[in-house]
């Protein structure tokens, strides 16, 4: 399903008038498409970008903040990243109010699992429960799907660090690196070129790659800490730590990224001669 959307969809919207098969979630079109689900994905591709990268010692989540006004007075620590449980966190792209419902549900599910089994919920188990909920909104009830895509980052003792992506259809996949939201096609191809599978990336490499990819896919050119949110999921002394980078840490990361870019540019020009 994902292949279809990312490949063909952009050309479809510009020429497509409201089809007879798109007003209800619970019917297929003659070509076997669920238009409401696809429209939900269109809503997400307008939203601020989010990137997730799996490193050998942790997971990096990075997101672009769409700051709409300087009058905004945000009290919560993050706009696009949320902690689901101690060992699972997520980044969001899409309609924030829809995301809040699902995040609340995810938190409840994680606690219910812990209450029943006295063990933290494995990452994929949590994801399955959320995705089953999303799927329900594509098959019955007549309610529209959730206009949110998630990147879940977590650790469990069965599979170590994991990164998952889930979309409005209720499908999910495990990824080594993934971008969602605005400009995700170019971001994903950048990730494909730069993600180092063989020597397995460290957390610092992943942070720099995330910064590089986000900067290239954002509308503006120069990244600044107030436009970005970065979080890492790592393990320290047997405990999983979810850490949102502070303004200072972001500034030093941006500086590091800039100096690396300068080095790369110098190397390229040196090589030509």
């Amino acid at each position: 399903y994902q292949r279809r959307v990312h490949g063909d969809f952009t050309s479809n919207t510009s020429t497509n008038m409201a089809s007879r098969y798109d007003s209800r979630t619970t019917i297929f079109s003659p070509e076997g498409r669920l238009y409401q689900v696809e429209y939900a994905m269109a809503a997400i591709s307008q939203a601020g970008a989010a990137v997730g990268i799996l490193a050998k010692d942790g997971v990096v989540l990075a997101a672009e903040k769409r700051i709409t006004s300087k009058l905004l007075d945000q009290r919560k620590s993050t706009e696009k990243m949320y902690k689901i449980d101690d060992h699972i966190s997520c980044a969001v792209a899409g309609i924030t109010s829809d995301a809040n419902i699902l995040i609340n549900h995810a938190r409840l599910e994680a606690q219910r699992y812990f209450y029943a089994y006295k063990e933290p919920i494995p990452a994929e188990q949590l994801l399955m429960r959320i995705c089953d909920l999303k799927q329900g909104y594509t098959q019955f009830g007549g309610l529209r799907p959730f206009g949110v895509s998630f990147l879940f980052a977590g650790w469990d003792e069965h599979y170590g660090f994991q990164l998952y992506h889930s979309d409005p259809s209720g499908n999910y996949g495990g990824w080594k690196a993934k971008a969602i939201g605005a400009n995700n096609q170019s971001a994903n191809s950048l990730l494909k070129d730069n993600y180092d599978e063989d020597s397995s990336m460290s957390l610092d490499d992943a942070l720099l790659l995330g910064l590089k990819v986000l900067s290239k896919s954002m509308d503006t050119t120069a990244p600044t800490p107030d436009k970005l949110e970065f979080a890492t999921v790592t393990r320290v002394a047997g405990r999983v730590i979810y850490h949102v980078l502070t303004k200072e840490e972001l500034e030093s990361l941006i500086k590091k990224g800039e100096s690396m870019l300068k080095e790369e540019a110098a190397k390229e020009s040196g090589g030509d001669i």
């Binding site: 919560k76 620590s77 689901i84 449980d85 938190r107 409840l108 606690q111 006295k118």
Partner: protein, 208 residues
């Protein structure tokens, strides 16, 4: 025999100068038979909040798990630790939800919280099995050993004790009281909570 005396327990909490202490026995028994001497009846919710639960052992475990569930969600949503006084209200309303089929427990909530003009103010509170709260400034007791604990605490307590003093006092009170109750004892554990750290000590006591 009352259902609250089926397992037996002793829990006591005391306030000091910018510190609190909570202590309990470690007996797990069914009626007159002792089955274990390593049962934890005091649970940490976060670094500055502990809750000790006396009463029926199965309800003690269930209530602890339910409280952990609710506390965790509170922390995730509000992005901060729950204050002891707020936690006490939560315990009270949770117990009252089961007004006509209650959990057979008596919890003792103990912690440090920041008030408007003061930091790290000691807070202790206990409720009955259906959530009626009792707040004091000095000490609170729960379990099958309450009569004895009231006596020793009233005699030995003095306000504004330093952490070391508080530890001595609460330990001696607990050990003296459980010796006069056949359903509690078999070891004791004391947590002293200060603004910087929590010191947990297990006491050597009579194993009977």
């Amino acid at each position: 025999m009352s259902i609250m005396e089926y397992n037996g327990s002793a829990v006591v909490a005391m306030t000091g100068k910018n510190c609190v202490a909570i202590a309990s026995d470690m007996r797990y028994g069914i009626r007159m038979q002792t089955l274990a001497a390593d049962m934890r009846k005091i649970f940490k919710m976060h670094d500055q909040l502990f809750v000790g639960i006396s009463g029926l052992a199965t309800d003690m475990q269930t209530v602890e798990q339910k409280l952990r569930f609710r506390t965790k969600l509170y922390e995730l949503r509000e992005e901060r630790n729950i204050k002891p006084s707020v936690f006490a209200n939560m315990v009270s309303s949770m117990l009252y939800e089961r007004r006509f089929g209650p959990y057979f427990i008596e919890p003792v909530i103990c912690g440090l919280e920041d008030k408007k003009d003061q930091k790290n103010v000691p807070f202790i509170c206990t409720t009955d099995l259906i959530g009626a709260q009792c707040f004091t400034n000095d000490f609170l007791v729960a379990g099958t050993t309450t009569d004895q604990l009231y006596g020793v605490c009233e005699a030995m307590y003095k306000p504004d004790m330093e952490p070391e003093d508080l530890f001595e006092t609460i330990s001696q009170c607990l050990l003296a009281a459980v010796d006069r109750d056949c359903l509690s004892g078999w070891g004791a554990i004391v947590h002293v909570i200060t603004p910087d750290q929590v010191i947990t000590r297990e006491l050597k006591s009579r194993q009977d």
